[in-house]
Every structure is written in structure tokens, then in C-alpha cells.
């Protein structure tokens, strides 16, 4: 292996970078590895501290509490990798949920309800996308406005009432288990969507373009990437995923109210950033976000089991978020220093 790289790469520096030890260090200091290690520590800790934590039924059941937010985070990866942000997702969830509630109230089939919910979500996302790409206002400003508008529509439509009547079949989506096992249907959908998003992100041209846009928008434009169109699709997809989340959430809690999913956009962005996606765009991958979703979800569950109050959870999440951004920067600096020192050593060796 070493000889092969020797033949291929003439510079000695590159070979030493590719040696097993170096690769191991690079792998272990990667963000996903750190997240994975934290996740393992978390599991071990809670298993020792809380007797009912490590139980397959409990663990699978606890996933109900975070799969919806995690699905929301999946499409948010696209938006954030492009350097945008969408803080209207939670309002789109509420809006879709209201539509689902309305279709249920006029006695539609469950599949009609699902289609309507997802379609309205996609339409709301398209409104975001259109305003952002055609007028050219920063995404944070537009979605700040639409956040109020979408939730405002819910308040106008529902006033202070709520839809609470849903057909029984519909309840399966958010409450059901797959094939009589302990695995929630929601969790399977989440994993499936994660695989889809991961595939698009890492194995298709569309995904590569996202990184190109996030790293340098003007270069991407001059390379012939249809930047505005891709950004538009991202926002529409984000809306569509919000619609999907609305289906699960409405089905799980069995009601549709204007104040649903309040502040979820913040949780969702926290999740994506904690997963190692750079808020400036251009960096991040699906594995990190996937691990982060389980990390946060089971942290909450574990703390709940140990009867630690929710306020500590808010504080922990906040510190995790800041740490998640602070730490990679520091790691990069350490890596940079190591590299510089090595180069210096090699230069010295050459001189001697």
C-alpha cells in the first residue's frame, strides 16, 4: 500500500498523511466520530444510572418524541448546506396540520388527507422559495415574515378552536408499529427518508451542486449551476417535508391547533448544526445529522427517565449547540498546527 502511494505521489508529505496512524487520527477527530463517541457515552451512562433506559421497547417507543423533528431536519440539511436558512418550517407544519384537520372534518379518506397536507406544505415552501429567489431577499428575513403569515392563517381559520376528529385509519401513521413488532412506523419512515436524502446529497449531481453553491455561490453561478432554481427546489422540499411531519404529528397527537410545533424550527436548526452542517453552508453530511438526532432525542429521554426537568434540557441543548460550532473550529486549528509542524520537520530534515 505504502509503495503504491509512493509511486503515485512523489511528495513525501502526502504519504505520511495517508499512513494508517494519520488516517486513524483524522477519522477519530472527525465530527461524526466525536458525535458517535458522545452517543455511546450517553448510552452507557444512562444504562448505569437509569435501570429502565436500556430496554429495546422503551428505546423504540421513545423515538416517537424526536422522529418528527428529525424528519424536519433532513430537508433542512439541503437548505443550510446552500447557505440559506428556513425558520418558517414549524409554521408550515401547523398550516399543513390545519389542512389535514379540515379534510378530515369533511370526511375525506386518510390518503386524501395525507396528499393534501403534503401538497399544502410544498406550496407553502414554494412561496418561500419564490420570494427568496425572484426578489433576492435573504432567506432569514423572508422566512421570518412567512413564519408569522403561515401561523397567522391558521389562527384566522381556526380562531381558538381545534380539529380533534380524525378517522381511525389515520392514527396508524403516527401511532402505529410496523408488522406487530415494537418498531414504530414513523421511525422506519424517518430512516428511509434519511437514506433518500443521504443518497441525493452524497451520490448525485444535485448534491454536489448544493455543496458548490454553499462554498461559493458566485463560482457556482459561473460554473453553469442554476443556483436560483436549486435554492427554490430546496425550499419547496423543505415545505414538503414539513407537510410530511404535519401528517405524523397530527396523527400522533390526534388534534390540529394553530399553536402546534411552536419553536420547532429552532430545535431543528440546532439538530442540523449539531450534526456538523456548517451554518455558513458547504459543509456537512447525513451521518452526522443522523447521529445527532439520536443523541439529542435519547438525551431528552434519558433525562426524562432520571426525572431531570425540561429546563436543564433547554440549557444543555443550548450549550451543545454552541459547543458543536466552537469545537470543530478548535479541532481544525489543532490539525492545522500539526500539519504545519510536520511540514517544518520535513523541511528541516531535507535541509540536513
Amino acid at each position: 500500500m505504502n509503495e503504491m502511494s509512493n509511486a503515485l505521489v512523489s511528495e513525501g508529505r502526502l504519504i505520511s498523511e495517508n499512513s494508517l496512524k494519520e488516517r486513524l487520527i483524522r477519522g477519530l477527530t472527525s465530527w461524526e466520530a466525536i458525535l458517535g463517541i458522545i452517543l455511546i457515552i450517553e448510552f452507557v451512562y444512562f444504562s448505569f444510572e437509569a435501570p429502565y433506559f436500556f430496554d429495546s421497547f422503551n428505546l423504540l417507543n421513545a423515538s416517537f418524541s424526536f422522529t418528527e423533528k428529525s424528519i424536519l431536519a433532513l430537508s433542512m440539511i439541503f437548505v443550510i448546506i446552500c447557505g440559506d436558512i428556513d425558520i418558517s418550517v414549524a409554521s408550515i407544519v401547523a398550516l399543513s396540520s390545519i389542512v389535514i384537520g379540515y379534510t378530515a372534518s369533511i370526511g375525506a379518506d386518510p390518503w386524501v388527507m395525507v396528499v393534501c397536507g403534503v401538497a399544502v406544505g410544498a406550496a407553502a415552501g414554494a412561496v418561500n422559495g419564490l420570494l427568496i429567489t425572484t426578489i433576492g431577499i435573504p432567506a432569514i428575513a423572508i422566512t421570518l415574515g412567512t413564519q408569522s403569515v403561515f401561523r397567522g392563517i391558521c389562527q384566522i381559520v381556526l380562531k381558538n378552536k381545534a380539529y380533534t376528529e380524525f378517522p381511525e385509519d389515520f392514527a396508524y401513521l403516527g401511532q402505529g408499529y410496523i408488522f406487530d413488532s415494537d418498531v414504530p412506523f414513523e421511525l422506519i419512515v424517518y430512516l428511509f427518508l434519511a437514506i433518500c436524502i443521504g443518497f441525493v446529497l452524497h451520490y448525485t449531481g444535485y448534491g454536489r451542486k448544493l455543496y458548490a453553491i454553499g462554498n461559493c455561490t458566485s463560482t457556482a453561478v459561473f460554473s453553469g449551476i442554476k443556483v436560483q432554481r436549486i435554492r427554490f427546489y430546496n425550499f419547496m422540499l423543505n415545505g414538503m417535508f414539513s407537510g410530511i411531519v404535519a401528517v405524523f404529528l397530527t396523527s400522533r397527537i390526534g388534534s390540529a391547533r394553530p399553536n402546534m410545533a411552536t419553536n420547532w424550527e429552532m430545535d431543528c436548526i440546532t439538530l442540523v448544526v449539531l450534526g456538523g452542517v456548517s451554518i455558513m453552508g458547504g459543509r456537512g453530511n447525513i451521518i452526522g445529522v443522523l447521529i445527532a438526532s439520536f443523541l439529542l432525542g435519547y438525551l431528552k429521554y434519558g433525562m426524562g427517565i432520571m426525572s431531570i426537568s425540561g429546563k436543564v434540557m433547554i440549557i444543555t441543548t443550548g450549550f451543545l449547540l454552541i459547543g458543536a460550532v466552537l469545537l470543530p473550529g478548535m479541532l481544525d486549528k489543532v490539525k492545522e498546527n500539526r500539519k504545519l509542524r510536520r511540514q517544518q520537520k520535513e523541511l528541516d530534515a531535507q535541509r540536513n
Binding site: T146, S148, K311, I322, V325, L326
Partner: protein, 327 residues
């Protein structure tokens, strides 16, 4: 069209017209609305928003954003109310001072992370939004401080009057004047525009970006701290959930006042009028039967329309400048 353009150049005039128009619309629907006392009320209701929006304005001016404002208000308001509850003999001024200092400390924490941690402001404040809110619960142990636990002196901080003007309005006016002087006539204030307009150029001419960021986040925290105590005193209740989502109101007020969200432009007058209009919108709608449900929708629409209008007008004026040069 020409006249419209001239009007756009003077955003403050446009906002004043907008405010007058909506006041007229309100009074047609509700004759009681047009009472002098009611105007003082509306102004007083918007005062806290004006103060905090100005803090937000400074942060946005440098290209950042502060999402932790609502949580800082809650923390400092709770702190002020708790001090008042536990030491009723203490002059309520000390509650305000404690709130201001604590707010400044919280803002400094944000500032250090943004300036020296090199983390984008939106991420830092998204995190501290949760952290400060969480510490509010810890501080209050989940309890509320209700009206009968506060001394009269404390609830009189905003309601008391000086020369016939309620103190809370004086607070807003003083803050506006101070910020106006700061960004219009001091060197540091002008540097904020430079940083927001072109960061690379500003750093090259020797403007210390980190120090400025530290300063404005601290100022923003300080204002939020004072506003928090005023909030608790005005509504005579310190609730853990108070001012949730208020940060977005402040951003909306800034955007409405013509502050560019990417930094570098905006005026104090615009922000004050923008905040006044947002306050008017939310307070007047709640007075009309069944209109309270339209409040959120209207606020969002106003923000979007204002931004689209800003952008289209800016594009138009760029084109005219270009045409003039080409000729």
C-alpha cells in the same frame, strides 16, 4: 412614479403616513380609538419594543442578529421582580440597575462567543436563547412573581410620570436619543456602518471588528435587561415564558424601518417608527372584536411587503444611477 421615488427616499415620512393612515382606519371602525389618552397608551405599549428594537438594530447593523433578546428580557425581568419580592425595602431603582447589569453580562457572553469564538451570531444567540430561558426557570424555580408580591414602587417604575409623561415613554425616548447620538455622531458608531457595509474593507482600514461586536452585543443585552425589568413591572407579573418570540418582533420592526438585514444601512428614526407601527398594529387589533386572530398574519404580511418594497425600490434606484452614469 417620480413622487413615489422621492417618498421612498424619505422612509420616515412614509412610515409616518402609514401610521396616520392606520390610525385613521382604526378610528373609523372604532370612534373610541381617537382619544388622546389612548395615544399615550399606544406609545407606552410600544415603548419596550422601541427600546429593544434599537438594540437589535445595532446588532443587525454590523451584519449579525440577536435571537436571545426575548430570553434576556425574561431572565432580567425575573431577576428584577425576584429582588423586589425578596427585598421589598430596597429602592426599585436597584432592580432596574441589577437588570441592566445582568443584561449587559448576558450580552457580553454573546459578544465574546461571536467576536472571539468566531461563531456566527445567529448560532450563538440561538443557543443562548435556550440557555438564558432555561436559567430563567432555574432562577425562578418555575414559579411566577405575581402582582401582589411586588411593591407599589416597583410597578410604578413604568407607570409613574415625570412632567406628565409616563416613565416608560421617557425610557424609550432616552434610549432613542442615546443610540441616535451614538451612531450618528461618534466615531465608534460610524464604524458600525463601515463593518456592516464592507467588513473586509473596514478591517483593512484598521477598525477593530471584535471590539465593536463585543460592544454592541453588550449594549443590546443592557437594553434588554432594562426592558425586562420594565416589562415585569408594567404587566405586574414576571412569568417564565415572558417575551417569547419577542426577538422576531424586534427584527420585524427593524426591517420595517428600512434596516437592511445584511447590515450596513438603516436609521434610528426608521427603527423607532417601525417599532411604533408594529406596536400599533398588535395593540389596536386586539381591541377590535375577533381581530386578534388576524394579528400574527398582518404582522407577517407587513414585514414581507416592506421587504419586497425595499428591494424593488432599491433595484429601481440602482438602475437610475446606472442609467445616469451611462449617459
Amino acid at each position: 412614479m417620480e413622487r413615489l421615488k422621492a417618498l421612498h427616499k424619505n422612509r420616515e415620512a412614509m412610515l409616518v403616513l402609514l401610521i396616520i393612515a392606520s390610525v385613521m382606519a382604526m378610528s373609523i371602525g372604532m370612534p373610541r380609538f381617537l382619544k388622546l389618552g389612548n395615544f399615550a397608551n399606544i406609545f407606552a405599549d410600544s415603548s419596550i419594543l422601541i427600546m429593544v428594537a434599537l438594540g437589535q438594530f445595532l446588532v443587525i447593523l454590523t451584519g449579525g442578529i440577536d435571537l436571545s433578546i426575548g430570553s434576556m428580557i425574561a431572565f432580567c425581568g425575573m431577576l428584577g421582580a425576584l429582588i423586589n419580592m425578596n427585598y421589598p425595602g430596597l429602592s426599585p431603582i436597584w432592580c432596574v440597575v441589577a437588570g441592566a447589569l445582568t443584561g449587559a453580562g448576558l450580552g457580553l457572553f454573546n459578544g465574546v462567543l461571536v467576536a472571539y469564538g468566531k461563531i456566527p451570531a445567529i448560532i450563538v444567540t440561538l443557543g443562548t436563547m435556550g440557555i438564558f430561558r432555561g436559567f430563567t426557570y432555574v432562577l425562578s424555580k418555575g414559579q411566577w412573581v405575581t402582582a401582589h408580591e411586588m411593591t407599589e414602587g416597583f410597578t410604578n417604575i413604568p407607570h409613574g410620570t415625570l412632567f406628565g409623561i409616563p416613565n416608560i415613554i421617557l425610557f424609550a425616548i432616552l434610549t432613542s436619543l442615546a443610540i441616535y447620538y451614538f451612531i450618528q455622531f461618534t466615531r465608534t458608531g460610524r464604524e458600525l456602518y463601515a463593518i456592516g457595509g464592507n467588513k473586509a474593507a473596514a478591517v483593512l482600514v484598521g477598525i477593530k471588528e471584535e471590539r465593536l461586536q463585543l460592544l454592541i452585543f453588550t449594549i443590546c443585552g443592557l437594553i434588554s435587561g432594562i426592558a425586562g425589568v420594565l416589562w415585569a413591572a408594567r404587566y405586574a407579573a414576571a412569568v417564565n415564558e415572558m417575551a417569547t418570540g419577542f426577538e422576531l418582533m424586534t427584527v420585524a420592526a427593524c426591517v420595517l424601518g428600512g434596516v437592511s438585514i445584511s447590515g450596513g444601512s438603516g436609521l434610528v428614526g426608521g427603527v423607532v417608527l417601525g417599532a411604533l407601527f408594529m406596536g400599533l398594529l398588535s395593540n389596536s387589533l386586539t381591541m377590535i372584536k375577533n381581530m386578534a386572530f388576524y394579528q400574527m398574519f398582518m404582522q407577517g404580511m407587513v414585514v414581507i411587503i416592506a421587504m419586497v418594497f425595499n428591494e424593488l425600490m432599491a433595484r429601481n434606484s440602482n438602475k437610475t444611477v446606472l442609467n445616469r452614469r451611462l449617459k
